[in-house]
Symmetry: C2
Subunit: 240 residues, 2 copies
Amino acid sequence: MVATAARRLARHEVEDLVRDVLRQRLTGAINPPPTAREVPARASRGSDVGPHPLVVNVSARHVHVTPADLETLFGPGATLTKQRDLYQAGEFASEQLVTLVGPRQRIIPNVRILGPTRGYSQVELSYTDGVYLGIDLPLRVSGNHDGTPGITVLGPRGALTLDRGVIRARRHVHMSEADLRYFGVRDGDEMKLRIDGPCGVTFDGVVVRHHPRVILEVHIDTDEGNACDIERATNMQLIK
Amino acid sequence: MVATAARRLARHEVEDLVRDVLRQRLTGAINPPPTAREVPARASRGSDVGPHPLVVNVSARHVHVTPADLETLFGPGATLTKQRDLYQAGEFASEQLVTLVGPRQRIIPNVRILGPTRGYSQVELSYTDGVYLGIDLPLRVSGNHDGTPGITVLGPRGALTLDRGVIRARRHVHMSEADLRYFGVRDGDEMKLRIDGPCGVTFDGVVVRHHPRVILEVHIDTDEGNACDIERATNMQLIK
């Protein structure tokens, strides 16, 4: 038997509790949706010591925007300001946050825009987020928006209704030319990512994405990062 | 460029929107935490046609309680009433719901108690839930509560502070004697679970749990179910 501290609540205690909960909800102190475990960039230098260390990062839900959409949300002339650098040179988490409103009128506040601005606006969510919002997320590579659902995005200066661009991003690995050569793969190929540890998992279908100015980095989402407990991984390996 | 419907919000529109959101929050219409995708019991009859079909079920967050803790939450003489049967004979999702209050004062409402009552109380959460509540969840087999954290549970008739029993359940597979023989494994062994499909994954460390009155059933949590998109799995296989 588990030891428990149990007693009946007095009426004034229940009232105090409800009042506290309501106050906290109204001030946003409770019930923002779950976020990823805090996952720092991790490097594993196992058997695969290539031109760059193997880094696996967990992408929490985030938004990309066009310059025009940014102005709609944050006002004329708005620009993204840097909160912190991301792993790839030039990429950054901005200080700009938006609120997503799904088709069931549920909202997810405090979703970060990643910079710099792009030629398309895109909302990347986990399936956990999709269930919450009531959106059946298509699995896509970034930028492939054919047949994808839309969403309403709220900023401090305006609202934006995207008619498409809401996706779960496919697991992928960014590679430089040297990384492609090292692993013997080409842009668009699929690899496996093996995670050893207390919640060991092998992910299939990690899409290789080549770009001349990136270095080796795997992106998985929060469902995937939590499923394999990436924080406590003891080894990581990309397998052709 | 993505087509967007964008305009500046008028002040009264913003006020209406905020009023709607607050009203919905207060009435509980928005911001309950994410839940699992709806995953029906699934049977795969692939190469492993043993004494029972391979069924993989996703366990959403839930609670087990002792009879005494149930009375604390729901009042003297309270019993669990059945909402629906679960896959194992005698197990059921009850109609009784509780609210969890974590150490950061965040709450998760509408968490279902599974019946029948047990000799211990236990709260099973995903890591996504743990991040939200601010609890670093230990990975445990059901009932192993040494060194596990506690939580406050609210019912309609009282509050209960468990001093331990909050866990992420280890991936496991329930097996009858015939299932053990078929797979050539013993209670406590670890197997792999291979999920084929658009988000294919192989899970390591699926713990075999033998009980004379169960039939073959794998339990994974919502992070794991979402990571591998179990809904769209094309094949499933247990590997020794």
